[in-house]
């Protein structure tokens, strides 16, 4: 996977994860272009399209579009499953996740994504395992282990 984007129907970016080194302005350009292309798709069309030299796999969940750019040799159908797994993880973590959860807790969404995927590949295929790791890490944040000045909340 080259990158993953989450954006709303109004074209607001909610999450962007890039797995290749890309310049800031190129990222902005690609995001803008891709959002335009995907938002223009009609509901009945298939979830795959070709864009530049990449294959785009996207799926809409409620008001959010989950959009991945994969390479030529990647399996599009399993990418749909990857997206679905990520949504399931968010859903389990936030409890019936909605767009607002991801807006207000974007850093947590990133933490979950980073526990699930690395370099564009799945780290663990067990939902339970990923969620447990996040839970433990969150716990670590709560507990005052270090003896420096008190930790504050975000």
């Amino acid at each position: 996977m080259r990158f993953m984007l989450l954006f709303s129907r109004q074209g607001k970016l909610r999450l962007q994860k890039w797995y290749t080194a890309t310049a800031e302005r190129d990222k902005k350009k690609m995001v803008r272009e891709l959002m335009q292309v995907v938002l223009a798709r009609k509901p009945k069309m298939c979830s795959f399209l070709e864009w530049r030299d990449l294959k785009i796999v996207y799926k809409r969940y409620a008001s959010l579009y989950f959009c991945c750019a994969v390479e030529e040799q990647d399996n599009e159908l399993i990418t749909l499953e990857v997206i679905h797994r990520f949504v399931e993880l968010l859903d389990k973590y936030f409890g019936s996740v909605c767009e607002l959860d991801i807006i207000f807790n974007f850093e947590k969404a990133y933490f979950i994504l980073d526990e699930f995927l690395m370099g564009g590949e799945i780290q663990d295929t067990s939902k339970k395992s990923v969620l447990k790791a996040i839970e433990q890490a969150d716990l670590l944040q709560e507990v005052l282990i270090y003896c420096y000045i008190d930790q504050v909340d975000l």
Binding site: L77, E81, E107, M118, G119, A133, A137, L154
Partner: protein
């Protein structure tokens, strides 16, 4: 100094902004506060401030001043700081900034941290955005972690190693020992990431590939266990056990089995098993089947298995799910070359997909349809494709038209059918046809000698209906120019000949000249066509008038043509019939896709009569020593010139001395070019037979512009040494 506002509070505030300007104002205010907080080196709230900065960055605002702060957070001992710091690094930093190298030391320390979640953060950051330098420095640490027994770290280390190898392929060797028992792990996370690592190594190095071939039995076993094992709630997806791992293993097997008989043999059974036993009601199952099909097609599988694979794809085509259909068409396109007959069986389903509503599916179906066209199904397929051309989106029309032309050229059952098909394309999608199709079509029409009358008649009728489609108009003008005599004399055999007079034809052509719809190129075609008709029609005066009018046209190209044609009427009338003769059969010679017709040289030849050559050189007082070759075919309308047209196996023009005076001898020799007999090579030998030097020798070559195609006349100057006294 009050505490900086909380992250969620800021998000809430920014979302209340009603206009872009209002939002920008809020952001600027907060950024100023954050900046001063950074300046004060506030450790307590640095984390909060960077988090806010990351939010603003996502909205599109600049956040580069937070880069160093991220580094400070990473270096902090607090877990929250590290978490936000690494996130910030991944979002704000990349290898283009020199700053990122400062992270290296922190990451190194964190890779050896006592808490696995901190190690995890470091591995994740390195594995997502580590630069080549960082990878080089830290590869050793990653390798160490690859050998740990902690599966949480092992799986992350494996993916980190994948990234390291992608960035610095030379380091691949160092991870080899650690891969020894990766596949004996029970943990699915480690298994999955190990397979990814092995795949990466095998893809990059043929040596690694041969080395890892011995893992095939083990991989087959793991796959078998996944399929045969009972329900495992942890890894189950819609009744299938760990589809992600299955897909990854299948992909690795594909790479290992490619080109290798033994490995392909070893995986044959499991592939058949997966192909037949996988549940197809949900997307997951189909994803696995898809990967299986790809693997079967790539390795050296036996024919039974290949047929099974194609049939799976055929079933996919009938699936209600668009995504599955799309994927099937894509795969079939890849396999159509190698397993043509098997794919042919699904031709009707593929053709049905042309009517699908989805653009991507239509395009795939179109490409596949063209790949499946052959001599047997051409008529049926063409009907469908022409129907598709009528109704498809404009984006497709150009490609579809080109595809139809190609297919028609290869498999046309008859010349009449071919011409009809071309007509159909030109009239329905005429404006989308590619520019290079026009010369191709003209060549085709020229070579279908018996169809000339029919073709020109149909084209003329099409022009009467519609003159807006330029390629159609161009081809039609050219044909009318060439075969206008056949049109007027009503010689058509294939269909009812129409009654049309010379004036009517000229009306149409002149109409093209003045119409706003005609492009300059089209006007050029029309003018030339009118000119050609001067030798085929009797209404010379009318033609002369038209030509002279355009002598003062604003369009330079048109003006030049008109002036030259005028000159033909006035000064070179004796050459006119020869110049405007019927075009001979052309052979297409392809010069890196330009489609330059070198055979046009044949039509240039009539001009190079002996007398004219002398005129070019300026010498009038030399007796030409030439022999005219008697044409073996009946003389064309041109008369008694060096008729070199029509028959490609002609005699060569003998050499001649064009000038022999005052010691300067100029000889012309003519020969056919050796690699390409359609090119004539004229060599000019200039010899100085006196003892004195000759100075101010000026070589000028004049090239007459004759027809509407680009002619190719290359002038190679080879200066031979002056022979003194020889």
């Amino acid at each position: 100094m009050p505490a900086p506002i909380r992250l969620r509070e800021l998000i809430r505030t920014i979302r209340t902004a009603r206009t872009q300007a209002e939002e920008r104002e809020m952001i600027q205010k907060e950024c100023a506060a954050i900046r001063s907080s950074f300046r004060e080196e506030d450790n307590t709230y640095r984390c909060r401030n960077v988090a806010k900065l990351l939010y603003m960055h996502m909205l599109g605002y600049p956040a580069h001043f937070g880069q160093l702060e991220c580094l400070k957070l990473i270096a902090s001992q607090k877990f929250t700081d590290k978490r936000i710091g690494y996130l910030g690094a991944m979002l704000l930093l990349d290898e283009r900034q020199d700053v990122h190298l400062l992270m290296t030391n922190c990451i190194k320390n964190d890779l050896n941290h006592s808490t696995q979640y901190v190690q995890g953060l470091a591995l994740c950051t390195l594995g997502c955005m580590g630069s080549s330098e960082m990878c080089r420095d830290l590869a050793g640490e990653v390798e160490k972690l690859l050998k740990t027994s902690n599966s949480y770290l092992r799986k992350k280390a494996a993916l980190c190693a994948v990234h390291v190898i992608r960035k610095v392929p030379e380091l691949m060797e160092m991870f080899l020992p650690a891969t020894k028992n990766l596949l004996s792990e029970k943990n699915h996370g480690v298994l999955h990431t190990s397979v990814v690592l092995l795949t990466e190594m095998c893809e990059r190095s043929p040596d690694m590939l041969s080395h890892f071939r011995k893992l095939v039995p083990q991989l087959v076993r793991i796959l078998k266990n996944l399929i045969m094992s009972g329900y495992s709630p942890e890894h189950d997806v819609s009744g299938i056990s760990d589809p992600f791992l299955q897909v990854r293993i299948l992909r690795l097997l594909r790479i290992l089995g490619k080109g290798d008989d033994d490995s392909s043999e070893a995986m044959n059974d499991i592939l058949a098993q997966v192909a037949t036993n996988t549940e197809t009601s949900k997307n997951v199952g189909n994803a696995i089947l898809y990967e299986t099909v790809l693997t079967i097609m790539d390795i050296k599988s036996e024919s039974g298995l290949r047929v099974l694979a194609i049939n799976i794809l055929g079933r996919f085509l009938l699936n209600n799910d668009k995504n599955i259909r799309y994927v099937a068409l894509t795969s079939l396109l890849k396999t159509v070359q190698t397993d043509h007959n098997a794919v042919q069986r699904h031709r009707s389903t593929i053709v049905d997909c042309l009517k699908d509503l989805d653009v991507s599916i239509k395009r795939r179906a179109m490409e596949l349809s063209f790949a499946l066209v052959n001599g047997n199904n051409i008529r049926g397929m063409m009907k469908e494709l022409l129907y598709f051309l009528d109704s498809c989106d404009p984006d497709f029309k150009a490609d579809c038209a080109s595809g139809i032309f190609l297919a028609a050229e290869k498999y046309a059952p008859s010349k009449r059918w071919h011409i009809d098909t071309i007509m159909r394309v030109l009239t329905t999608a005429g404006s989308y046809v590619r520019d290079d199709s026009v010369p191709n079509l003209i060549q085709l029409i020229t070579n279908s000698v018996e169809m000339h009358a029919y073709t020109v008649q149909r084209l003329y009728k099409a022009l009467l209906d519609d003159i807006s489609q330029q390629p159609l108009v161009q081809v039609a003008s050219w044909c009318i120019g060439e075969y206008g005599d056949l049109l007027v004399s009503g010689q058509c055999e294939e269909e009812e000949p129409i009654q049309v007079s010379e004036d009517e034809v000229l009306d149409v052509l002149e109409g093209l000249l003045v119409s706003n719809l005609s492009t300059p190129v089209t006007r050029g075609y029309s003018l030339t066509a009118i000119m050609k008709l001067s030798t085929r029609f009797s209404s010379l005066n009318r033609i002369k008038k038209v030509v002279s009018i355009y002598g003062s046209s604003i369009d330079v190209e048109l003006q030049q043509r008109a002036v030259e044609y005028n000159a033909l009427f006035k000064k070179y009338d004796h050459m006119r019939p020869a110049l405007l003769e019927r075009m001979p059969i052309m052979e297409k010679t392809i010069f890196s896709g330009d489609g330059i017709f070198t055979v046009c040289l044949w039509s240039v030849f009539p001009v190079l009569q002996a007398n004219d050559l002398l005129d070019l050189l300026g010498g009038n007082d030399v007796v030409p020593i030439i022999q005219t070759t008697v044409p073996t075919k009946p003389a064309s309308a041109g008369g008694e010139l060096l008729d070199l047209l029509g028959d490609l196996s002609l005699t060569v023009i003998p050499p001649m001395t064009a000038y022999n005076k005052n010691g300067l001898i100029i000889e012309f020799t003519f020969e056919r070019s050796n690699p390409n007999p359609n090119i004539a090579v004229i060599t000019i030998h200039a010899t100085n037979s006196t003892e004195a030097d000759m100075t101010e020798f000026v070589f000028q070559a004049a090239v007459p512009k004759v027809c509407s195609f680009p002619s190719c006349i290359l002038i190679n100057l080879l200066f031979m040494s002056w022979c003194i006294g020889t």
